[in-house]
Every structure is written in structure tokens, then in C-alpha cells.
């Protein structure tokens, strides 16, 4: 997770929207969002990020933050700041009734897409050679390099993969949100909150944190709409006081 992911979310959303509305194919939109942000991730990592691995953490934060601005402003320059309407794909229109609850079909499909994405990412991180190299490389990059493994390439692929996931998220989210260049920033902050609540560095924590955050917002929206957003951040503060490592976090991982 880094500060450029908000910008990549926006880029993915616009790339997907463009392909989707041009060729009237939602699947093509997904492909476009993933491919564009993946390639962008490769380029960014090669040109910029790789110079930063040896520099202080604060520099890495600053440069990704700056990149976020550049990405969002580029999108704004190309597509203007006006809202874009992203239609729900025809096969996902209507709604579904589960017990007493009525859900829009598309939102359920999104849940499906998210589950598949999480599974793919989980497999890559924990079950492939690439994931192994990167996890070992974070612990001790010198040893990994001594073994003759090109760790630079592995880090690049992971960075690009992260970018692609952000891009995909941006696109599948866009029929639900109003698409503007600033959409990524708002989502970025919320996902930080989700990570803090769920637990830093914890895969399951991010999911649990997301569910908890969603519940807090929808429940407070019913009883005290003014406080809905505030309640989410107060919950985060409470988690920090009571359980600083997050709900599913492990002590020492932060």
C-alpha cells in the first residue's frame, strides 16, 4: 500500500470506463483497467521507485504522494473534472433478494470479483516463486541477491501487481461511485482506515476491517447521518487505543 494507489485507482477507473463505453464490453473494461495500470506500474517502478529503495521511508512516501498528484492531475487534464457516468453492465442490473434484504445485483457481482482477486493475489504472494522471493527479499535482500536471483525484477512485478489491483478496484467501483478524478483520494484514505482497524500487514485483517468499516458507516447512517463518516474515524481511534496492532494484527509486524 502506498500513496500513489489513489492515483492508480483513478487511472484504472478511467481506462476501464473508456474501453467499456467505446466497445460496450464490461470485460474489456476490466482488461483495460488491469493492463493500463500494470504497465504504468512497471514504468513507474523502473523510472522512479527503484531509486528509492535505499532512501529513507519518508522519501518513498513523498514520491508516491507526488506521483498520486501527477496521475490524478493528468487524468483531470485529459478527461476534465466533470463527472462521468459509468453504467451498470446489463447482466448486472436489477436486484436480488437474500432473506429479507434486497441487494443490487451488481454489488453482489463486485463481491465475487473481489473474492477472485483476493484469491489470485493470495496465491501469488504465498504460493509462487515470485511471492517467495519478495517475502525473502524484504527480510534480507542481500542473501537473496547472493543466490543469483533478480530481486529487482521481483519487486517490479509486485509493484505493478499492486498497481493493477488498485486499477481494477477503481474500475469495478466506478458504476457505484460517481467517477471524478478525485475518486481515488477518498478511497485511499478509507482503505488506510480499513487497514488500521483490521491490522497492518494482515491479509484477513484487511477483509475484516473492511466489513467492520462498512457496518459502522451504514449503521450510523441510519441513526445519526451527520456522524456516519466521523464514527468510522472514531472507531479507528478506539482501535488504536484498545488494540494498537488492529483487530487481526500481530504485535511486532508494524
Amino acid at each position: 500500500m502506498n500513496f500513489a494507489h489513489g492515483g492508480l485507482f483513478t487511472v484504472g477507473a478511467y481506462a476501464g470506463w473508456l474501453a467499456y463505453t467505446q466497445y460496450d464490453s464490461f470485460a474489456l473494461g476490466i482488461v483495460a483497467a488491469i493492463v493500463v495500470t500494470f504497465v504504468l506500474g512497471v514504468v513507474i517502478e523502473r523510472i522512479l521507485i527503484r531509486q528509492y529503495y535505499a532512501r529513507p521511508k519518508e522519501d518513498q512516501i513523498l514520491v508516491t504522494f507526488g506521483l498520486g498528484i501527477v496521475l490524478v492531475e493528468t487524468v483531470r487534464a485529459i478527461f476534465t473534472a466533470q463527472n462521468k457516468l459509468v453504467p451498470t453492465p446489463p447482466w448486472a442490473e436489477g436486484s436480488v433478494q437474500i432473506a429479507d434484504l434486497v441487494y443490487p445485483q451488481y454489488r453482489l457481482d463486485v463481491v465475487g470479483i473481489v473474492i477472485v482477486t483476493l484469491a489470485v493475489v493470495w496465491l501469488i504472494v504465498f504460493k509462487t516463486r515470485l511471492g517467495l522471493i519478495v517475502r525473502a527479499g524484504i527480510d534480507d535482500s542481500l542473501i537473496v541477491e547472493m543466490l543469483g536471483i533478480d530481486i529487482g525484477r521481483a519487486f517490479m512485478l509486485v509493484f505493478a501487481l499492486g498497481a493493477a489491483v488498485a486499477g481494477l478496484a477503481g474500475f469495478v467501483d466506478s458504476p457505484i461511485l460517481a467517477l471524478t478524478p478525485d475518486v481515488g483520494t477518498a478511497v485511499l484514505v478509507q482503505s488506510f482506515v480499513v487497514i488500521v482497524i483490521g491490522g497492518v500487514g494482515s491479509f484477513g485483517g484487511a477483509i475484516v476491517g473492511g466489513i467492520v468499516a462498512g457496518e459502522i458507516i451504514s449503521l450510523t447512517s441510519v441513526f445519526a447521518p451527520d456522524w456516519a463518516q466521523v464514527a468510522l474515524y472514531l472507531a479507528m481511534a478506539l482501535v488504536l487505543i484498545v488494540r494498537p496492532q488492529g483487530l487481526l494484527g500481530v504485535v511486532g509486524r508494524a
Partner: protein
């Protein structure tokens, strides 16, 4: 004497040069056809940035939530003045600054439990908390997205005498005096033993702790001081504009002050003023050129990325390095 003046051999020259600059600044702006008000705005941001520099440039803490304190100080000051709760602007500013410092202590005590990117994330999130507080539950005091109009100007009366800062130049003088006070205090802070420990924390927090310093307390006090600077600057913004804008609380505001500080040069105190000047004047200049009016922020974003990649110490840092290289040749 082995120590010399630790960390800084400039004596009072920097204060003198800054005072001189503040006197000449409106005339310099006029030379380029820029109004005094823009200078006042730059000083307010420069003051805000001093706080950011204290925690980032000197202590190594990168906070993306400083707008929370800018807004808090601003809205407390504006409310006090609009409802005439305090006799004059200075009293309102003092209370606003104190309120922002309290908010800073509260946020700091939570966010400082993490370091690095997680600290940055937390400050960003707490910044949003304040934004949403301003936006909904507290709208009676903040005017929500409308902000608070009708903030009175700085006029002081004592018996038969009146000191009126409400003209454009008067406002500049008022803000410049407060900026200089803030700058002077910050210089004292960074040259104190307290400031020496802050720099040690920036360089190597683990070792600063290992040699016996209570690092968490130093961080919290530094964070609180930075919040106070933000609050003071926010209060000045409301008085200067006669209107307290809700944008003071936004993420964009938090981000911009970081960008200004980094462009100008972190760890220099004067850097944020330079960065604010570059940012504000470039923005003004670029917006006047038709072709690129819409992409001024993109251009500044690219400049920012290039600067951190190549010129880590910002414009002032680069100037100091250059001066240092020229000196032996003399």
C-alpha cells in the same frame, strides 16, 4: 570551547535577513506587478509551514493531517471574533492557537504510536476525521461547506488610540510581525537542547532512545508545537480574508503544505516560506497563461516529484549547499 554553537553557526544573521526581507517583500512583489495580498497569503502559509518543518525537517515525522490544526485554529479564532467573545484579534488568535495545540496533542498521542508510512496514514485519517467533523456535526460553528463569513479585521483600540490593520498593507504588516515572531521562536527551538534531540530523533530514533532520551515525549511535544503553528496560521487566514473557508480542513490543504515545505527545503525553517512563495506565484503565473491554465497543478506535481528525486533538500537546501561550496574558493 569544543562545541561552538551546535548545529548552527549563523548567529543572528538569519533573523536579520528575514526581517529585512519581510520589510522589502511588498515592494519586491509590486515590482513584478503582484499585489500585497498575495504576499500576506504567502506569509500565512510560510508560518503554517514552520510547524510542518519542525516535525518533518527537524524530527523526521511526515504528517499528512496538518490541515486539521490549520482549520481548528482558524475556526476557533473566527468564531470568537464574529461573536465578539474576545476584545481583539490577538486574544482570539491566542485561544485559537491553544485550541489547535490541544487538538495536536490529542491526535499526536494516538498517531505517534506508529512510525513511517503508518504514521503518515494515521495523520491523513485523523485529518479526514476533522474534515468530517467540520462538515457535518459541527456545522453550527463552521458553516459547513459555506465557511464563516464576516470575520472582523484586526483593529486595536486603547483609550483614544486606535491601531488599524484593516488596509491591505496594514494586514501585511500585522501578519509579517506575527510571522517574524513565529520564525524567531522556531529558531530558538531548533537551537535549544530540545531541538538538538529532535534532530537526533530524525537521524536515528532508536539510538536517541538507546542513549536515554524519552523519544515519544519529544515527538509529542514537537507535534503539539507544529499544531500550534498551524492553528495560528489558520486564525490569521480568517482575519486576513474576512472569511474562514472550509477548504482549510481538506486533504488538499494538508498535501499542499507538505509539498511547499519540501520544495522550499525542509530543515531550514525559511524553506516553507520560499516553497509557499514559489507555489503561490507559479500558480498565479501559470493560471494567467491560457494553454496551461488548467494544468498548473500537474506541472507543480511534476516539479515536486523531480525535486524530491534530484534535489532532496529543496531550494533553500540547494542554495546553502552552493554557498558552502563557494566559500573555500574565496
Amino acid at each position: 570551547m569544543i562545541l561552538g554553537p551546535v548545529g548552527d553557526r549563523t548567529g543572528w544573521k538569519v533573523e536579520g535577513a528575514t526581517a529585512l526581507f519581510l520589510v522589502l517583500f511588498p515592494a519586491l512583489l509590486a515590482l513584478f506587478g503582484v499585489g500585497t495580498d498575495l504576499g500576506t497569503r504567502i506569509l500565512i502559509l510560510g508560518l503554517f509551514g514552520i510547524g510542518v518543518d519542525l516535525i518533518f525537517g527537524y524530527t523526521g515525522l511526515l504528517s499528512f493531517g496538518q490541515a486539521a490544526f490549520y482549520g481548528t485554529g482558524g475556526f476557533i479564532t473566527a468564531n470568537l471574533l464574529i461573536h465578539h467573545n474576545v476584545p481583539n484579534a490577538l486574544g482570539a488568535l491566542a485561544i485559537g492557537t491553544l485550541g489547535a495545540a490541544l487538538a495536536g496533542a490529542l491526535v499526536g498521542s494516538l498517531a505517534l504510536r506508529q512510525v513511517g508510512i503508518y504514521f503518515a496514514m494515521l495523520t491523513l485519517a485523523f485529518g479526514q476525521l476533522f474534515y468530517f467533523l467540520e462538515n457535518s456535526p459541527l456545522r453550527a460553528y463552521t458553516g459547513s461547506e459555506n465557511g464563516l463569513p464576516g470575520v472582523p479585521k484586526a483593529i486595536f483600540t486603547a483609550g483614544p488610540w486606535t491601531l488599524d490593520f484593516s488596509s491591505s498593507l496594514g494586514m501585511y504588516v500585522f501578519v509579517a510581525m506575527i510571522y517574524f515572531g513565529g520564525f524567531f521562536i522556531a529558531r530558538r527551538i531548533v537551537r535549544s537542547p530540545f531541538g538538538a534531540v529532535l534532530r537526533a530523533i530524525r537521524e536515528n530514533p532508536e539510538r536517541a532512545l538507546a542513549v536515554g532520551h524519552r523519544v515519544p515525549r519529544y515527538k509529542l511535544v514537537a507535534f503539539t508545537i507544529a499544531a500550534a503553528y498551524g492553528g495560528l496560521a489558520g486564525g490569521l487566514l480568517g482575519i486576513f480574508q474576512g472569511y474562514m473557508p472550509p477548504e482549510a480542513f481538506t486533504i488538499d490543504q494538508s498535501g499542499e503544505i507538505i509539498v511547499m515545505t519540501v520544495i522550499g527545503g525542509p530543515g531550514t525553517l525559511i524553506g516553507p516560506l520560499v516553497g509557499a512563495g514559489v507555489w503561490t506565484l507559479l500558480r498565479q503565473g501559470l493560471q494567467n497563461i491560457d494553454v496551461i491554465a488548467g494544468i498548473w497543478k500537474l506541472i507543480l506535481g511534476i516539479v515536486f516529484v523531480l525535486l524530491i528525486t534530484g534535489f532532496r533538500r529543496g531550494l533553500v537546501g540547494a542554495a546553502i549547499a552552493l554557498a558552502g561550496r563557494l566559500r573555500p574558493a574565496r
